[in-house]
Amino acid sequence: MKATPLSVAAVAAIAITYIRAFFFTPLEAIQGPAQKILYLHAPSAWVAFLAFGLVGLASVLYLWLKDERLDRIAESSAEVGVMFTTIVLVTGPLWGKPIWGTWWTWDARLTLTLFLWFIYLGYIVLRGAVDDRAMRARYSAVLGILGTLLIPFIHLSVYLFRTLHPQPILMKPGAPSLPGEMLATLLLSFGSFTLLYVALLRGRYRYAVERDNAHPPETYDA
């Protein structure tokens, strides 16, 4: 990926976020240094949801307008989203082990994140398994839309699963009420990660354009 003003700005924003997180944000009293993972975990989760939301939107628009650019946006966003979901799934257990005493729990939010990862990994594999460009775009758009439809069902079924069978879990889901200093750092991390997402999306999109230009479809239909 070439350095563009946007990608430079994104990297700079991330650097500022972490300088602030490590040197100018107070340690959390109970969790200690482990809590610093918040500034990687939470913004990654936000970006992953943003990215998959865009996949769904671009998929609907593609089936409607049949514009190849929309397909490339969906493709790029899915890949960046899977990358950030992977970060969420790796940093979550690392944080969970010292704080909750367990690497993994089948909480609604965790399960949903895991299944988002499965769905969009399937999406990427599907794209790789279809050679015809127009067909690949239509197939992926269909999967992108169905995946978006699926998300509420996964969330609801796992949520019911837990409320009907209450179990002693160590974690308490829900946003922690953060003191101002930490909240400011967290908000900064959300902003800088969103910038990083846009930079990565643009880079990945450009790659898709160059790849498609290098291999033009054999037949041009009207």
Binding site: F118, V125, A129, V130, M135, L146, F153, L156, F161
Partner: protein, 226 residues
């Protein structure tokens, strides 16, 4: 609407006639389901887990995987000699093709389930007689959901390079919101809880069936070559 349904039925009967004459997929799916039940039995420690606790899991794992065997065959059969072109050239709405395929798959999956539920009751010593009607309702609702999604993915997967691998990879995440309610409701029934307690799960299954049958039917025409 009546014509569309009749067209679907004709397509479903065509698929079932092929299946009835060869019987290959149905028999292998039933044998696969029975083998699954048997293998779970040997992986089971009856002193630690009761049969009523284990059975719902076994039932739904077996149904999910044996269902996939039938789904792959659904559009795989149309690949030979490009038979799908004949279907597409016929004056039948695209939605009816999907619905016909889905109906045939539903009958296939119900057949496999009808063969494996008594086997599970027998092998695990479960008294299913008293809960048979609600159990059938759960099984049917879940089968509709599995088939609605699976038929669409089968149509897509046959045209890809990873056909056999891609169908389970795409379908299984979609089966999760079906398998969770179905297995939970089955567990309630087998442990003798009142039928009313399964209602939230049944509603969830019904909602899934409606959303994904309509969604997949609308999406199906986009999976065809234009």
């Amino acid at each position: 609407m009546g014509d569309a349904l009749r067209d679907s039925w004709v397509i479903a009967m065509k698929d079932l006639a092929i299946e009835f004459r060869t019987r290959s997929a149905f028999l292998s799916a039933v044998v696969f389901a029975l083998l699954g039940v048997v293998i779970f039995f040997f992986a089971w420690d009856p002193t630690a887990v009761t049969a009523a606790d284990l059975a719902p899991g076994v039932l739904w794992v077996v149904f999910t995987f044996s269902g996939l065997l039938g789904l792959h065959r659904s559009f795989g059969a149309e690949q030979a000699d490009r038979a799908i072109d004949g279907l597409l050239a016929s004056p039948v709405a695209r939605e009816s093709i999907y619905l016909g395929k889905a109906m045939a798959n539903l009958i296939f999956v119900i057949g496999v389930q009808a063969a494996s539920i008594p086997a599970i009751a027998l092998f695990y010593g479960l008294p299913i007689g008293s809960v048979l009607a609600p159990l059938c309702a759960i099984t049917l609702l879940a089968a509709i959901g599995l088939v609605a999604v699976g038929t669409l993915f089968s149509a897509m997967a046959v045209n890809t390079r990873l056909a056999e691998l891609l169908l389970p990879m795409l379908s299984l995440p979609f089966f999760v919101p079906i398998v969770i309610p179905a297995a939970q409701a089955t567990a309630k029934l087998l442990s003798g809880r009142p039928v009313g307690e399964t209602l939230p799960w049944l509603k969830l299954l019904l909602a899934f069936d409606i959303v994904f049958t309509v969604g997949c039917m609308l999406a199906y025409p986009f999976t065809l070559e234009e």
